[in-house]
Protein backbone atom coordinates (compact mmCIF):
# COMPACT_ATOMS: atom_id res chain seq x y z
CA UNK A 1 0.00 0.00 0.00
CA UNK A 2 1.39 3.35 -0.92
CA UNK A 3 0.71 6.27 1.31
CA UNK A 4 -0.84 9.64 0.65
CA UNK A 5 1.57 11.34 3.01
CA UNK A 6 3.83 14.06 1.68
CA UNK A 7 6.41 15.13 4.25
CA UNK A 8 6.29 18.76 3.16
CA UNK A 9 2.50 18.82 3.46
CA UNK A 10 2.32 18.36 7.21
CA UNK A 11 1.52 21.71 8.79
CA UNK A 12 4.27 22.95 11.15
CA UNK A 13 3.62 25.70 13.64
CA UNK A 14 6.62 27.92 14.00
CA UNK A 15 7.73 31.26 15.38
CA UNK A 16 8.21 34.43 13.40
CA UNK A 17 11.81 35.34 14.25
CA UNK A 18 11.97 38.69 12.50
CA UNK A 19 9.70 41.16 10.69
CA UNK A 20 11.27 43.68 8.31
CA UNK A 21 9.43 46.63 6.83
CA UNK A 22 10.30 46.90 3.13
CA UNK A 23 7.83 49.63 2.12
CA UNK A 24 4.67 51.25 3.52
CA UNK A 25 2.66 48.25 2.30
CA UNK A 26 5.22 45.42 2.22
CA UNK A 27 6.85 43.45 5.03
CA UNK A 28 9.20 40.47 5.07
CA UNK A 29 8.60 37.71 7.62
CA UNK A 30 11.43 35.39 8.59
CA UNK A 31 10.52 32.05 10.17
CA UNK A 32 12.28 28.95 11.43
CA UNK A 33 11.51 25.89 9.29
CA UNK A 34 13.89 23.10 8.40
CA UNK A 35 12.06 21.89 5.26
CA UNK A 36 11.38 25.33 3.81
CA UNK A 37 14.95 26.44 4.53
CA UNK A 38 15.94 24.02 1.75
CA UNK A 39 13.58 25.61 -0.80
CA UNK A 40 14.78 26.61 -4.25
CA UNK A 41 14.00 29.94 -5.96
CA UNK A 42 10.51 29.79 -7.48
CA UNK A 43 9.01 27.50 -4.86
CA UNK A 44 6.26 28.65 -2.50
CA UNK A 45 4.87 27.78 0.90
CA UNK A 46 1.38 27.80 2.41
CA UNK A 47 1.35 30.22 5.34
CA UNK A 48 -1.29 29.63 8.01
CA UNK A 49 -2.36 32.68 9.98
CA UNK A 50 -4.14 30.83 12.80
CA UNK A 51 -7.83 31.59 13.00
CA UNK A 52 -7.72 33.77 9.87
CA UNK A 53 -6.64 32.08 6.62
CA UNK A 54 -3.91 30.10 4.88
CA UNK A 55 -2.30 31.72 1.86
CA UNK A 56 0.33 30.78 -0.74
CA UNK A 57 3.50 32.88 -0.57
CA UNK A 58 6.54 32.91 -2.83
CA UNK A 59 9.75 32.21 -0.96
CA UNK A 60 12.08 35.24 -0.93
CA UNK A 61 15.03 33.61 0.81
CA UNK A 62 15.92 30.28 2.40
CA UNK A 63 18.89 28.79 4.21
CA UNK A 64 20.43 28.17 7.64
CA UNK A 65 17.17 26.77 8.98
CA UNK A 66 15.23 29.93 8.06
CA UNK A 67 12.75 30.88 5.38
CA UNK A 68 11.54 34.36 4.37
CA UNK A 69 8.44 35.57 2.59
CA UNK A 70 7.72 39.10 1.40
CA UNK A 71 4.08 40.05 1.78
CA UNK A 72 2.11 42.97 0.45
CA UNK A 73 -0.97 43.99 2.39
CA UNK A 74 -3.84 43.36 -0.01
CA UNK A 75 -6.69 41.79 1.97
CA UNK A 76 -7.87 40.47 5.33
CA UNK A 77 -5.27 37.70 5.69
CA UNK A 78 -2.30 39.88 4.76
CA UNK A 79 -3.63 42.73 6.93
CA UNK A 80 -3.73 40.38 9.90
CA UNK A 81 -0.25 39.08 9.11
CA UNK A 82 1.11 42.63 8.89
CA UNK A 83 -0.11 43.12 12.46
CA UNK A 84 1.98 40.19 13.70
CA UNK A 85 5.36 40.53 15.38
CA UNK A 86 8.47 38.46 16.07
CA UNK A 87 7.69 35.75 18.61
CA UNK A 88 4.15 35.09 17.34
CA UNK A 89 3.14 31.74 15.88
CA UNK A 90 2.19 30.90 12.31
CA UNK A 91 1.93 27.58 10.44
CA UNK A 92 3.78 26.55 7.29
CA UNK A 93 3.39 23.77 4.71
CA UNK A 94 5.82 23.30 1.86
CA UNK A 95 8.01 24.03 0.06
CA UNK A 96 5.74 23.30 -2.89
CA UNK A 97 5.94 23.52 -6.66
CA UNK A 98 8.82 23.51 -9.10
CA UNK A 99 11.61 26.06 -9.28
CA UNK A 100 13.41 28.19 -11.84
CA UNK A 101 16.07 26.33 -13.79
CA UNK A 102 19.64 27.44 -13.14
CA UNK A 103 20.69 28.87 -16.46
CA UNK A 104 24.33 29.75 -17.21
CA UNK A 105 25.57 32.40 -19.61
CA UNK A 106 23.72 35.71 -19.89
CA UNK A 107 20.49 35.94 -17.95
CA UNK A 108 17.86 38.64 -17.59
CA UNK A 109 15.39 38.91 -14.72
CA UNK A 110 12.26 41.07 -15.02
CA UNK A 111 10.00 41.77 -12.06
CA UNK A 112 7.00 43.82 -11.13
CA UNK A 113 5.92 44.73 -7.57
CA UNK A 114 6.29 41.93 -5.02
CA UNK A 115 7.25 39.64 -7.92
CA UNK A 116 10.73 40.98 -7.19
CA UNK A 117 10.97 38.80 -4.05
CA UNK A 118 11.42 35.33 -5.66
CA UNK A 119 13.63 36.86 -8.37
CA UNK A 120 15.94 38.37 -5.73
CA UNK A 121 16.29 34.85 -4.31
CA UNK A 122 17.08 33.57 -7.81
CA UNK A 123 19.50 36.42 -8.55
CA UNK A 124 21.50 35.61 -5.40
CA UNK A 125 21.84 32.01 -6.54
CA UNK A 126 22.68 32.84 -10.16
CA UNK A 127 25.05 35.76 -9.63
CA UNK A 128 28.06 33.54 -8.97
CA UNK A 129 27.20 31.08 -11.75
CA UNK A 130 26.31 33.28 -14.70
CA UNK A 131 28.44 35.21 -17.12
CA UNK A 132 26.20 38.24 -16.85
CA UNK A 133 23.07 39.00 -14.84
CA UNK A 134 20.76 41.88 -15.77
CA UNK A 135 17.66 42.94 -13.89
CA UNK A 136 14.71 45.12 -14.86
CA UNK A 137 12.45 46.02 -11.97
CA UNK A 138 9.22 47.99 -12.11
CA UNK A 139 6.64 49.29 -9.65
CA UNK A 140 3.85 51.86 -9.48
CA UNK A 141 5.88 54.30 -7.38
CA UNK A 142 9.26 54.68 -5.62
CA UNK A 143 7.96 53.36 -2.29
CA UNK A 144 6.86 50.11 -3.94
CA UNK A 145 10.17 49.48 -5.67
CA UNK A 146 11.57 46.64 -3.55
CA UNK A 147 15.12 45.50 -2.81
CA UNK A 148 16.82 48.13 -5.01
CA UNK A 149 19.87 48.21 -2.72
CA UNK A 150 20.18 44.40 -2.59
CA UNK A 151 19.83 44.12 -6.37
CA UNK A 152 22.39 46.87 -6.85
CA UNK A 153 24.86 44.75 -4.90
CA UNK A 154 24.23 41.75 -7.13
CA UNK A 155 24.13 43.40 -10.56
CA UNK A 156 26.52 46.14 -11.56
CA UNK A 157 25.01 49.58 -11.97
CA UNK A 158 24.49 49.35 -15.72
CA UNK A 159 22.74 46.01 -15.41
CA UNK A 160 19.95 47.18 -13.09
CA UNK A 161 17.14 49.15 -14.70
CA UNK A 162 14.33 50.48 -12.53
CA UNK A 163 11.02 51.91 -13.69
CA UNK A 164 8.06 53.52 -11.92
CA UNK A 165 4.69 54.37 -13.42
CA UNK A 166 4.67 57.80 -11.77
CA UNK A 167 8.32 58.60 -12.45
CA UNK A 168 9.29 58.97 -8.76
CA UNK A 169 12.33 56.72 -9.31
CA UNK A 170 14.18 55.43 -12.35
CA UNK A 171 12.53 55.61 -15.75
CA UNK A 172 8.89 56.71 -15.96
CA UNK A 173 7.37 53.82 -17.91
CA UNK A 174 6.42 50.16 -17.66
CA UNK A 175 9.16 47.50 -17.48
CA UNK A 176 8.28 46.39 -21.00
CA UNK A 177 9.66 49.60 -22.57
CA UNK A 178 13.33 49.28 -21.52
CA UNK A 179 12.94 45.50 -21.82
CA UNK A 180 12.07 45.65 -25.53
CA UNK A 181 15.15 47.83 -26.17
CA UNK A 182 17.38 45.57 -24.12
CA UNK A 183 16.18 42.46 -25.96
CA UNK A 184 16.95 44.10 -29.30
CA UNK A 185 20.39 45.26 -28.16
CA UNK A 186 21.73 42.25 -26.26
CA UNK A 187 21.62 38.49 -26.45
CA UNK A 188 20.28 36.50 -23.49
CA UNK A 189 20.38 32.77 -22.78
CA UNK A 190 17.39 32.92 -20.41
CA UNK A 191 14.80 35.43 -19.28
CA UNK A 192 13.01 34.98 -15.94
CA UNK A 193 9.96 36.89 -14.84
CA UNK A 194 7.55 37.24 -11.93
CA UNK A 195 4.93 39.88 -11.26
CA UNK A 196 1.42 40.89 -12.30
CA UNK A 197 0.08 38.51 -14.94
CA UNK A 198 -0.78 41.28 -17.38
CA UNK A 199 2.93 42.28 -17.26
CA UNK A 200 3.99 38.66 -17.72
CA UNK A 201 1.73 38.38 -20.77
CA UNK A 202 3.36 41.44 -22.34
CA UNK A 203 6.84 40.06 -21.61
CA UNK A 204 5.81 36.72 -23.08
CA UNK A 205 4.70 38.50 -26.26
CA UNK A 206 8.08 40.28 -26.48
CA UNK A 207 10.12 37.11 -25.98
CA UNK A 208 7.92 35.13 -28.38
CA UNK A 209 8.37 37.73 -31.16
CA UNK A 210 12.12 37.30 -30.73
CA UNK A 211 12.01 33.53 -30.15
CA UNK A 212 13.72 33.82 -26.75
CA UNK A 213 13.51 31.35 -23.86
CA UNK A 214 11.38 32.45 -20.90
CA UNK A 215 10.45 31.14 -17.47
CA UNK A 216 7.55 32.87 -15.73
CA UNK A 217 6.22 32.35 -12.23
CA UNK A 218 2.40 32.52 -12.17
CA UNK A 219 -0.04 33.18 -9.37
CA UNK A 220 -3.54 31.75 -8.88
CA UNK A 221 -6.08 31.29 -6.14
CA UNK A 222 -4.85 28.25 -4.20
CA UNK A 223 -6.46 26.02 -1.63
CA UNK A 224 -4.79 22.62 -1.20
CA UNK A 225 -1.35 23.45 -2.63
CA UNK A 226 -0.73 19.81 -3.56
CA UNK A 227 -2.50 19.38 -6.89
CA UNK A 228 -5.87 18.02 -5.78
CA UNK A 229 -8.52 20.70 -5.52
CA UNK A 230 -8.17 22.24 -8.98
CA UNK A 231 -8.54 25.84 -7.78
CA UNK A 232 -5.32 27.03 -9.42
CA UNK A 233 -5.59 25.43 -12.86
CA UNK A 234 -4.53 27.20 -16.05
CA UNK A 235 -5.33 25.03 -19.06
CA UNK A 236 -4.31 21.49 -18.20
CA UNK A 237 -1.73 22.70 -15.66
CA UNK A 238 -2.01 23.21 -11.91
CA UNK A 239 0.01 26.24 -10.81
CA UNK A 240 0.66 24.66 -7.37
CA UNK A 241 1.97 21.36 -8.64
CA UNK A 242 3.03 21.68 -12.31
CA UNK A 243 4.19 25.27 -11.69
CA UNK A 244 4.38 27.90 -10.41
CA UNK A 245 7.23 28.31 -12.92
CA UNK A 246 6.22 27.74 -16.55
CA UNK A 247 8.33 27.70 -19.70
CA UNK A 248 7.56 29.57 -22.90
CA UNK A 249 6.40 26.29 -24.49
CA UNK A 250 3.91 25.74 -21.64
CA UNK A 251 2.74 29.36 -21.75
CA UNK A 252 1.99 28.91 -25.47
CA UNK A 253 -0.37 26.05 -24.51
CA UNK A 254 -2.30 28.28 -22.11
CA UNK A 255 -2.24 31.54 -24.07
CA UNK A 256 -6.06 31.65 -24.19
CA UNK A 257 -6.03 32.13 -20.39
CA UNK A 258 -2.67 33.84 -19.68
CA UNK A 259 -3.31 37.42 -18.60
CA UNK A 260 -7.01 36.95 -19.37
CA UNK A 261 -8.90 34.62 -17.02
CA UNK A 262 -8.54 32.49 -13.91
CA UNK A 263 -10.76 30.37 -11.71
CA UNK A 264 -12.48 32.22 -8.86
CA UNK A 265 -13.52 31.04 -5.40
CA UNK A 266 -16.73 29.51 -6.77
CA UNK A 267 -14.99 27.69 -9.62
CA UNK A 268 -16.23 30.01 -12.36
CA UNK A 269 -13.89 31.81 -14.74
CA UNK A 270 -13.17 35.43 -13.83
CA UNK A 271 -10.88 38.07 -15.38
CA UNK A 272 -7.26 38.06 -14.16
Amino acid sequence: MSTSLIAANTIRTTEIVQVRTESPTVKTFIMVDRLCSKAKPGQFLMLWIPGVDEIPMSIMDAGNGLVSVTVKQVGDATKHLHGMEAGQTVGVRGPFGNSFTESRGRVLLVSGGTGTAPLLFLAKLLSAKTERLSFVEGAKTKDELLFVRELGGICNEKSLITTTEDGTYGLQCMVTEPLAKLLDREKFDMIYTCGPEVMIKKIFDLTEQRKLPLEASLERLMRCGIGLCGSCVIGKYRVCRDGPVFTAAQLREVKDELGISKIGFDGSRIPV
Binding site: S2, T3, S4, W48, P50, C229, G230, S231, R241, D266
Partner: protein, 318 residues
Protein backbone atom coordinates in the same frame (compact mmCIF):
# COMPACT_ATOMS: atom_id res chain seq x y z
CA UNK B 1 -4.44 -10.79 -23.75
CA UNK B 2 -5.09 -7.38 -25.21
CA UNK B 3 -4.28 -4.20 -23.47
CA UNK B 4 -6.26 -0.99 -23.43
CA UNK B 5 -3.36 1.40 -23.19
CA UNK B 6 -3.00 3.88 -25.99
CA UNK B 7 -6.31 2.94 -27.57
CA UNK B 8 -7.77 6.41 -27.11
CA UNK B 9 -10.99 5.00 -25.74
CA UNK B 10 -11.70 2.61 -28.63
CA UNK B 11 -13.62 -0.47 -27.64
CA UNK B 12 -11.65 -3.67 -27.78
CA UNK B 13 -13.10 -7.14 -27.82
CA UNK B 14 -11.68 -9.23 -25.07
CA UNK B 15 -10.45 -6.29 -22.99
CA UNK B 16 -10.27 -7.87 -19.51
CA UNK B 17 -10.52 -4.48 -17.80
CA UNK B 18 -13.72 -3.36 -19.47
CA UNK B 19 -16.74 -2.99 -17.21
CA UNK B 20 -20.35 -2.07 -17.81
CA UNK B 21 -21.52 -0.01 -14.91
CA UNK B 22 -25.30 0.39 -14.91
CA UNK B 23 -25.16 1.02 -18.66
CA UNK B 24 -21.94 3.07 -18.65
CA UNK B 25 -19.24 1.45 -20.77
CA UNK B 26 -15.84 1.86 -19.11
CA UNK B 27 -12.63 0.76 -20.83
CA UNK B 28 -11.10 0.24 -17.39
CA UNK B 29 -12.50 0.25 -13.85
CA UNK B 30 -10.78 3.39 -12.47
CA UNK B 31 -12.77 6.59 -12.04
CA UNK B 32 -11.75 10.07 -10.88
CA UNK B 33 -13.51 10.74 -7.56
CA UNK B 34 -15.59 13.88 -7.18
CA UNK B 35 -13.98 16.96 -5.69
CA UNK B 36 -10.58 16.41 -7.28
CA UNK B 37 -9.57 18.57 -10.27
CA UNK B 38 -13.17 18.65 -11.47
CA UNK B 39 -13.78 22.29 -12.44
CA UNK B 40 -12.49 22.49 -15.97
CA UNK B 41 -12.73 20.36 -19.08
CA UNK B 42 -8.95 20.58 -19.54
CA UNK B 43 -8.34 19.18 -16.05
CA UNK B 44 -10.78 16.32 -16.63
CA UNK B 45 -9.15 15.58 -19.96
CA UNK B 46 -5.74 15.47 -18.32
CA UNK B 47 -7.08 12.85 -15.88
CA UNK B 48 -8.52 10.93 -18.84
CA UNK B 49 -5.07 10.97 -20.45
CA UNK B 50 -3.67 9.72 -17.15
CA UNK B 51 -5.69 6.57 -17.73
CA UNK B 52 -9.04 7.03 -15.96
CA UNK B 53 -11.96 4.97 -17.29
CA UNK B 54 -14.43 7.72 -16.35
CA UNK B 55 -14.41 11.03 -14.48
CA UNK B 56 -16.71 12.59 -11.90
CA UNK B 57 -16.99 16.39 -11.76
CA UNK B 58 -16.89 18.59 -8.68
CA UNK B 59 -20.23 18.59 -6.89
CA UNK B 60 -22.47 21.10 -8.59
CA UNK B 61 -25.49 22.83 -7.01
CA UNK B 62 -28.22 25.12 -8.27
CA UNK B 63 -26.50 28.36 -7.22
CA UNK B 64 -22.79 29.31 -7.06
CA UNK B 65 -20.97 28.71 -3.75
CA UNK B 66 -17.54 30.10 -2.83
CA UNK B 67 -16.74 27.41 -0.26
CA UNK B 68 -14.85 27.91 2.98
CA UNK B 69 -11.79 29.99 3.81
CA UNK B 70 -8.44 28.19 4.05
CA UNK B 71 -7.20 25.96 5.59
CA UNK B 72 -9.51 23.69 3.64
CA UNK B 73 -7.12 20.72 3.55
CA UNK B 74 -4.96 19.38 6.37
CA UNK B 75 -2.80 16.28 6.39
CA UNK B 76 -3.54 13.66 9.04
CA UNK B 77 -1.56 10.55 10.01
CA UNK B 78 -2.45 8.51 6.91
CA UNK B 79 -4.59 10.71 4.76
CA UNK B 80 -6.05 14.15 4.24
CA UNK B 81 -8.93 15.92 5.96
CA UNK B 82 -10.74 18.40 3.74
CA UNK B 83 -13.56 20.85 4.16
CA UNK B 84 -13.77 22.73 0.88
CA UNK B 85 -17.40 23.67 1.41
CA UNK B 86 -18.67 22.57 -2.01
CA UNK B 87 -17.29 25.52 -4.00
CA UNK B 88 -18.92 25.47 -7.44
CA UNK B 89 -20.16 27.92 -10.07
CA UNK B 90 -23.77 26.62 -10.12
CA UNK B 91 -25.25 24.38 -12.78
CA UNK B 92 -26.15 27.12 -15.28
CA UNK B 93 -22.49 28.19 -15.58
CA UNK B 94 -21.15 24.65 -15.24
CA UNK B 95 -23.45 23.43 -18.05
CA UNK B 96 -21.11 25.19 -20.51
CA UNK B 97 -18.13 23.30 -19.06
CA UNK B 98 -20.07 20.02 -19.42
CA UNK B 99 -20.81 20.81 -23.06
CA UNK B 100 -17.17 21.66 -23.75
CA UNK B 101 -15.97 18.57 -21.82
CA UNK B 102 -18.13 16.37 -24.01
CA UNK B 103 -16.39 17.68 -27.12
CA UNK B 104 -12.92 16.69 -25.88
CA UNK B 105 -13.42 13.76 -23.46
CA UNK B 106 -13.46 10.26 -24.87
CA UNK B 107 -14.57 8.62 -21.62
CA UNK B 108 -17.87 8.91 -19.71
CA UNK B 109 -18.46 12.13 -17.77
CA UNK B 110 -20.38 11.69 -14.52
CA UNK B 111 -21.62 14.95 -12.99
CA UNK B 112 -21.77 15.09 -9.19
CA UNK B 113 -24.91 16.84 -8.00
CA UNK B 114 -25.98 18.30 -4.66
CA UNK B 115 -28.97 20.32 -3.50
CA UNK B 116 -30.75 21.62 -0.43
CA UNK B 117 -34.00 19.81 -1.31
CA UNK B 118 -35.16 16.88 -3.42
CA UNK B 119 -36.42 19.33 -6.04
CA UNK B 120 -33.03 21.05 -6.23
CA UNK B 121 -31.24 17.74 -6.74
CA UNK B 122 -33.71 16.93 -9.54
CA UNK B 123 -33.34 20.32 -11.22
CA UNK B 124 -29.54 20.24 -11.17
CA UNK B 125 -29.47 16.61 -12.38
CA UNK B 126 -31.85 17.40 -15.21
CA UNK B 127 -29.77 20.38 -16.35
CA UNK B 128 -26.54 18.34 -16.11
CA UNK B 129 -27.99 15.58 -18.28
CA UNK B 130 -29.43 18.12 -20.74
CA UNK B 131 -25.89 19.57 -21.08
CA UNK B 132 -24.47 16.13 -21.87
CA UNK B 133 -23.66 14.31 -18.61
CA UNK B 134 -23.47 10.56 -19.21
CA UNK B 135 -24.64 9.89 -15.64
CA UNK B 136 -25.19 11.75 -12.39
CA UNK B 137 -23.70 10.94 -9.00
CA UNK B 138 -25.79 12.25 -6.12
CA UNK B 139 -23.66 13.72 -3.35
CA UNK B 140 -25.78 12.78 -0.34
CA UNK B 141 -22.70 12.29 1.81
CA UNK B 142 -20.57 15.46 2.01
CA UNK B 143 -19.80 15.60 5.76
CA UNK B 144 -19.13 19.30 6.12
CA UNK B 145 -21.94 21.41 4.64
CA UNK B 146 -25.22 22.01 6.49
CA UNK B 147 -28.64 21.09 5.07
CA UNK B 148 -27.25 18.96 2.22
CA UNK B 149 -24.89 16.05 1.66
CA UNK B 150 -24.73 13.65 4.59
CA UNK B 151 -27.64 15.37 6.30
CA UNK B 152 -29.74 13.93 3.46
CA UNK B 153 -27.88 10.67 2.95
CA UNK B 154 -27.94 9.65 6.61
CA UNK B 155 -31.75 9.63 6.67
CA UNK B 156 -33.18 6.77 4.56
CA UNK B 157 -36.56 8.48 4.12
CA UNK B 158 -35.13 11.81 2.94
CA UNK B 159 -32.57 9.99 0.79
CA UNK B 160 -35.31 7.95 -0.92
CA UNK B 161 -37.29 11.10 -1.67
CA UNK B 162 -34.24 12.72 -3.31
CA UNK B 163 -33.48 9.65 -5.44
CA UNK B 164 -37.14 9.32 -6.51
CA UNK B 165 -37.32 12.96 -7.61
CA UNK B 166 -34.07 12.63 -9.59
CA UNK B 167 -35.28 9.32 -11.08
CA UNK B 168 -38.42 11.06 -12.35
CA UNK B 169 -36.30 13.84 -13.88
CA UNK B 170 -33.51 11.98 -15.70
CA UNK B 171 -33.23 8.83 -17.76
CA UNK B 172 -29.41 8.55 -17.54
CA UNK B 173 -27.85 6.31 -14.86
CA UNK B 174 -28.12 7.58 -11.28
CA UNK B 175 -25.24 6.75 -8.93
CA UNK B 176 -25.72 7.47 -5.22
CA UNK B 177 -22.57 8.26 -3.23
CA UNK B 178 -23.09 6.95 0.29
CA UNK B 179 -21.83 8.24 3.61
CA UNK B 180 -19.77 5.97 5.88
CA UNK B 181 -20.96 8.08 8.81
CA UNK B 182 -24.00 5.88 9.50
CA UNK B 183 -24.68 3.02 11.92
CA UNK B 184 -25.62 0.51 9.24
CA UNK B 185 -24.67 1.32 5.64
CA UNK B 186 -26.84 -1.39 3.98
CA UNK B 187 -29.92 0.46 5.29
CA UNK B 188 -29.12 3.66 3.35
CA UNK B 189 -27.85 1.60 0.39
CA UNK B 190 -31.17 -0.26 0.22
CA UNK B 191 -33.19 2.96 0.50
CA UNK B 192 -31.26 4.41 -2.46
CA UNK B 193 -31.64 1.31 -4.64
CA UNK B 194 -35.33 0.87 -3.90
CA UNK B 195 -35.91 4.53 -4.78
CA UNK B 196 -34.36 3.99 -8.20
CA UNK B 197 -30.56 4.30 -7.94
CA UNK B 198 -28.73 2.35 -10.68
CA UNK B 199 -25.43 2.11 -8.81
CA UNK B 200 -23.79 3.11 -5.52
CA UNK B 201 -20.46 4.74 -4.71
CA UNK B 202 -19.19 3.55 -1.34
CA UNK B 203 -18.00 5.68 0.34
CA UNK B 204 -17.57 9.44 0.83
CA UNK B 205 -15.13 10.76 3.47
CA UNK B 206 -15.26 9.95 7.18
CA UNK B 207 -16.13 12.92 9.37
CA UNK B 208 -12.91 14.04 11.06
CA UNK B 209 -10.94 16.94 12.47
CA UNK B 210 -7.40 18.12 13.28
CA UNK B 211 -6.31 20.28 16.23
CA UNK B 212 -3.02 22.14 16.49
CA UNK B 213 -1.51 21.87 20.00
CA UNK B 214 0.70 24.95 19.69
CA UNK B 215 -2.11 27.37 18.90
CA UNK B 216 -4.73 25.14 20.63
CA UNK B 217 -7.03 25.65 17.60
CA UNK B 218 -8.77 23.36 15.14
CA UNK B 219 -6.80 23.65 11.88
CA UNK B 220 -9.62 23.62 9.31
CA UNK B 221 -11.54 26.89 9.05
CA UNK B 222 -14.74 24.81 9.13
CA UNK B 223 -13.38 22.94 12.20
CA UNK B 224 -14.62 19.58 10.88
CA UNK B 225 -14.06 17.96 7.51
CA UNK B 226 -13.84 14.58 5.80
CA UNK B 227 -10.94 12.12 6.05
CA UNK B 228 -9.72 10.48 2.83
CA UNK B 229 -6.74 8.41 1.78
CA UNK B 230 -5.19 5.17 3.12
CA UNK B 231 -6.61 5.76 6.62
CA UNK B 232 -10.17 5.14 5.41
CA UNK B 233 -9.54 2.20 3.07
CA UNK B 234 -10.31 -0.61 5.53
CA UNK B 235 -13.54 1.15 6.52
CA UNK B 236 -14.58 1.70 2.91
CA UNK B 237 -13.76 -1.91 2.06
CA UNK B 238 -15.96 -3.14 4.89
CA UNK B 239 -18.78 -0.84 3.70
CA UNK B 240 -18.63 -2.33 0.19
CA UNK B 241 -18.60 -5.84 1.63
CA UNK B 242 -21.58 -5.11 3.91
CA UNK B 243 -23.65 -3.60 1.10
CA UNK B 244 -22.93 -6.58 -1.15
CA UNK B 245 -24.08 -9.00 1.57
CA UNK B 246 -27.48 -7.33 1.68
CA UNK B 247 -27.85 -6.28 -1.97
CA UNK B 248 -26.56 -9.02 -4.31
CA UNK B 249 -27.18 -7.21 -7.60
CA UNK B 250 -26.52 -3.46 -7.40
CA UNK B 251 -23.31 -2.28 -9.08
CA UNK B 252 -20.97 -0.73 -6.48
CA UNK B 253 -18.09 1.68 -7.06
CA UNK B 254 -15.50 1.34 -4.28
CA UNK B 255 -14.09 4.63 -3.01
CA UNK B 256 -11.72 5.36 -0.14
CA UNK B 257 -7.95 5.23 -0.08
CA UNK B 258 -7.38 3.47 -3.39
CA UNK B 259 -3.74 4.19 -4.19
CA UNK B 260 -2.49 1.15 -6.10
CA UNK B 261 -3.61 -2.03 -7.90
CA UNK B 262 -3.75 -4.04 -4.68
CA UNK B 263 -6.24 -1.63 -3.12
CA UNK B 264 -8.35 -1.80 -6.29
CA UNK B 265 -8.31 -5.61 -6.34
CA UNK B 266 -9.38 -5.72 -2.68
CA UNK B 267 -12.41 -3.57 -3.54
CA UNK B 268 -13.31 -5.81 -6.51
CA UNK B 269 -13.12 -8.88 -4.27
CA UNK B 270 -15.38 -7.16 -1.72
CA UNK B 271 -18.00 -6.53 -4.39
CA UNK B 272 -17.08 -3.37 -6.30
CA UNK B 273 -17.17 -3.34 -10.12
CA UNK B 274 -15.00 -0.23 -10.30
CA UNK B 275 -13.04 2.06 -8.00
CA UNK B 276 -12.76 5.82 -7.58
CA UNK B 277 -9.41 7.50 -6.95
CA UNK B 278 -8.84 10.96 -5.49
CA UNK B 279 -6.30 11.53 -2.74
CA UNK B 280 -3.69 9.29 -4.40
CA UNK B 281 -3.28 11.96 -7.09
CA UNK B 282 -1.51 14.12 -4.47
CA UNK B 283 1.33 11.62 -4.32
CA UNK B 284 1.32 9.79 -7.63
CA UNK B 285 -0.07 12.52 -9.89
CA UNK B 286 -2.66 11.97 -12.62
CA UNK B 287 -0.84 8.93 -14.03
CA UNK B 288 -1.95 6.97 -10.95
CA UNK B 289 -4.92 5.62 -12.97
CA UNK B 290 -2.59 4.04 -15.49
CA UNK B 291 -0.41 2.43 -12.84
CA UNK B 292 -3.43 1.00 -11.00
CA UNK B 293 -4.89 -0.40 -14.23
CA UNK B 294 -1.58 -1.90 -15.31
CA UNK B 295 -1.18 -3.57 -11.93
CA UNK B 296 -4.71 -4.99 -12.03
CA UNK B 297 -4.05 -6.41 -15.49
CA UNK B 298 -0.87 -8.13 -14.30
CA UNK B 299 -2.71 -9.52 -11.26
CA UNK B 300 -5.46 -10.97 -13.46
CA UNK B 301 -2.93 -12.62 -15.76
CA UNK B 302 -0.83 -14.07 -12.91
CA UNK B 303 -3.89 -15.48 -11.15
CA UNK B 304 -5.38 -16.74 -14.45
CA UNK B 305 -8.52 -14.66 -14.22
CA UNK B 306 -10.13 -13.69 -17.51
CA UNK B 307 -11.45 -10.29 -16.48
CA UNK B 308 -12.17 -7.86 -13.65
CA UNK B 309 -15.80 -9.06 -13.78
CA UNK B 310 -14.64 -12.53 -12.75
CA UNK B 311 -13.17 -11.36 -9.46
CA UNK B 312 -16.02 -9.07 -8.36
CA UNK B 313 -17.58 -10.49 -5.16
CA UNK B 314 -15.03 -13.30 -4.91
CA UNK B 315 -14.35 -12.64 -1.21
CA UNK B 316 -17.99 -13.56 -0.49
CA UNK B 317 -17.86 -17.17 -1.69
CA UNK B 318 -18.27 -20.09 0.72
Amino acid sequence: MQTIFGTGGKKLEGNPLRVNLAGLELQNPTILASGVLGYSAESLNRVAKGGAGAVVSKSIGLEPRVGYANPTVVQAEAGLINAMGLPNPGIDVYAEEIKYSKTILRIPLIVSVFGYSADEYATVAEKAVAAGADAVELNVSCPHVQFTGAEIGQNPTVLAEVVEKVRAAVSKPIIVKLSPNVADIPVTAKAAVEAGADALTAVNTLKAMAIDPETTRPVLSNIKGGLSGPAVKPVALRCVYDIREQLPDVPIIGCGGVSDWRDAVEFFLAGASAVQVGTAIALEDTDVFQSITKGVEVYLRKKHFGSVKEIVNLAHRG
